[in-house]
Symmetry: C2
Subunit: 527 residues, 2 copies
Amino acid sequence: MSKQSSRDSAAQSEAPQPLALRRVGIDTYRENVAYLHRDCAIYRAEGFQALSKVEVRANGRCILASVNVVDDSAIVGCQQLGLSEDAFVQLGVAEGCGVTVSQAEPPRSIPALHRKIAGERLAQDDFAGIVEDIASHRYSKIELTAFVVACNQGELDREEVFYLTDAMSRVGRRLDWHEYPVVDKHCVGGIPGNRTSMLVVPIVAAHNMLCPKTSSRAITSPAGTADTMEVLASVEMPFERLMEIVRRHRGCLAWGGTSDLSPADDVLISVERPLSIDSPGQMVASILSKKISAGSSHLLLDIPIGPTAKVRSMPDAQRLRRLFEFVARRMGLVIDVVITDGRQPVGNGIGPVLEARDVLRVLENHPLAPTDLREKALRLAGRMLEFDAGVRGGEGYGLARDILDSGRALQKMRAIIDAQGAKHFDPDKPCLSPLSFEVKASQAGMVVGIDNQQLARIARLAGAPKASGAGVDLLVKLGDRVSSGDPLYRVYAAYPTEQAFASEACDRNSGYFIGAAEQLTRVSVEF
Amino acid sequence: MSKQSSRDSAAQSEAPQPLALRRVGIDTYRENVAYLHRDCAIYRAEGFQALSKVEVRANGRCILASVNVVDDSAIVGCQQLGLSEDAFVQLGVAEGCGVTVSQAEPPRSIPALHRKIAGERLAQDDFAGIVEDIASHRYSKIELTAFVVACNQGELDREEVFYLTDAMSRVGRRLDWHEYPVVDKHCVGGIPGNRTSMLVVPIVAAHNMLCPKTSSRAITSPAGTADTMEVLASVEMPFERLMEIVRRHRGCLAWGGTSDLSPADDVLISVERPLSIDSPGQMVASILSKKISAGSSHLLLDIPIGPTAKVRSMPDAQRLRRLFEFVARRMGLVIDVVITDGRQPVGNGIGPVLEARDVLRVLENHPLAPTDLREKALRLAGRMLEFDAGVRGGEGYGLARDILDSGRALQKMRAIIDAQGAKHFDPDKPCLSPLSFEVKASQAGMVVGIDNQQLARIARLAGAPKASGAGVDLLVKLGDRVSSGDPLYRVYAAYPTEQAFASEACDRNSGYFIGAAEQLTRVSVEF
């Protein structure tokens, strides 16, 4: 059977006319959008539809974008092509430059995507192709969502999780520190106030272990490590400067989101977050690919469990631990998983300034330092110190405590803060947001439950992390006894609207459960 | 355990200031987008993120939209809220009106969506809630995609397909014609040139059966029935006018997409199309919910099979038939499924004008009328006529042929065309696009295969359906013998760019396979 044919064509071959590039000041949140006027000759001729995927080319550069059709010449004219903010930056040419636009070929990995949607098991090559297309922004939001949903829950077996992790870690930059071990810690998340990294990094670095901790800003939480650290020091600096700080001080607390480590992860997160999808396979691939790209050889992983934590039961935590261990082993990463108490927020403060206060109080051995934050940080740091072949099993905790109590951790933290660019901060007079109110116990009894999610929500509504001084300061915690009318926590807000939102949320659900001692939620964890 | 708490608040309760509504001339393709300036007080205060879902209220009306953050005051100012075209129309208030905007509560059906994503079976109520939220535009594109993917392929059992169909048919308008039977036909699609509806409707209507055929414009094909009919008559008119034409003439060929019949279907299609997802469950729910909303009691369903048709094998076709039959029975709809030959395009023309020419030639019993189109239409119409209790099994075909041969079908078609608003069209001098080229056989032999998808693609690249005179005119079909250099088909294009695109596509793959007689693709179908 032959497929060839000759053609008797009268077609004039006509090069498409370039359009003038216009930056359209619209933030479309990681989806590249190209704005074309409805009367634009190219739009008419090429039969683009709304949401068609097009290739935009200029100066030898090329990006993909979805078309939005525009009827208003004030946004783009008929001779122009508009690009949304992110897309404009990605293309990286100046406004007014000539750009050409053409129908994009569908990403090459789409057949593999369809097989995954149909429930098939994919091969290593399939994941490599999909991840490459995702990292190159060739997938639309719809295709991304389809991939995320098709890989959700039980849909990836553990071999596939390894393939996905491996593919993600191979795209983008990969650091090599030329030493061993290179350690990192990570928490699967969901616990407000859990700023152990800001204690663990200085302790471990003070022991001279290299710890290029990757930290992030909050996305759905009231503060990420980067947000809290920003109260104390600058966290945005060129990538090379960060590398230098890590080499010199053995650690830093300022890793950027723009460092091109596992870029596919950033793209996937843009649909996982709004969908609140956080399946074990995707969590493992996301965390491990970032750590491996950052050059880590050892990882301490914290899985908090509790009724309002991300992981709710010990069997779930153990299943997740085994998956992390399987994939880490295949990737050649040493992993130590600790399952911790996630029944309530860690420390007292929730929100950047309040959390920075707690962290500094622990480092300064201040009498008001929250003991739960101190204890958790010491235990995690202790386990990390045991990654050092010279530290014997069981000795890490004592070593970490010595480093903290002696002030060496504080000294290391000060060095890191200075290197990043110190900001003025007095933990005894933290700069909190001006509007505040207390939420009080409506009955006497014991605090038997604290809802992590509701307190995170209240802190966010109050303005955290955008307003660094906003948030929630917990005055009592699990097991404390209160009388009716005793304050449970204080909310700080920057603006009246935010205060009103937070206060309505407190009215609906304070997040605190007061009851009898035998009602206290308990979890059985390693420490 | 008690959840209450009292609050000691200094919060000033402050009503949010309204913003002035602005229509932003951007077509975001069925996703409502609200444009907020980055410096807008409400954006800052409420902590919206890009893609946050917000409720926009004005004059007692409310719509949901996703936020795009704008940095350019020419698009929206700090005191304005912009809405994309669709969203503006949905809200239905004038520019400049005061609108308020607030964080949207997540749609109530999201927990059910998450259960479906996790692979659970949903109950009837769950589908009702999801479909209602979808029809009310409460789902983001990401949530819609998640639903579509989670319901893909084997993920819906047939009881769930019934629940989904039932839920979809209950939302939106539902017509009642106050007579019985009310008949309709539908093809699952994928075959270019397959314009049988324009023959079946006049034949059936000439027999005085009520046939409120729902037709659509092309979305991914080179022409839909509405596009082809538009060559002969106006197809856009108020809904009440359409109803009147159907009542008077027993049929019409102009059903609008804006008639609010199964509106959830239109929303779902907006993600199914770009993803090319067309799973059996979704196809059944989509087609049957539309037909039931349109008031049909009987449906003739055409499932073409062939190597490049949507359904590729007889077992697949039979499985699909059983699913249609199960759900139709539960919905109280009488269905007759015919499996037809889908190996090649039907008729000669592909594209609105070319297809209209073919249809009119059949109606006029013209010597150049394509016999395959005539035969298929007669067989389908015959089966539909047998829905009439007065027509005996096996008599339908002869009856349909009599109606066609006697000119009664043409007469009925003329009446429908006049009622809708006739346009000048001469089938012997069709107004084809000016640029054309022929694709020729590169070897001698028999036409043993024609790729439906490639020919549809070529016709689209040539400009169909936007340019009504563009498309492909097939000169030989399956089983015809050709010599090397014989023309296979002629392509008509309106613009040089389109001609160039189409001609490149023909060079890559003409869509024709020339070989030996024994290589001819065969399918075994009912007729």
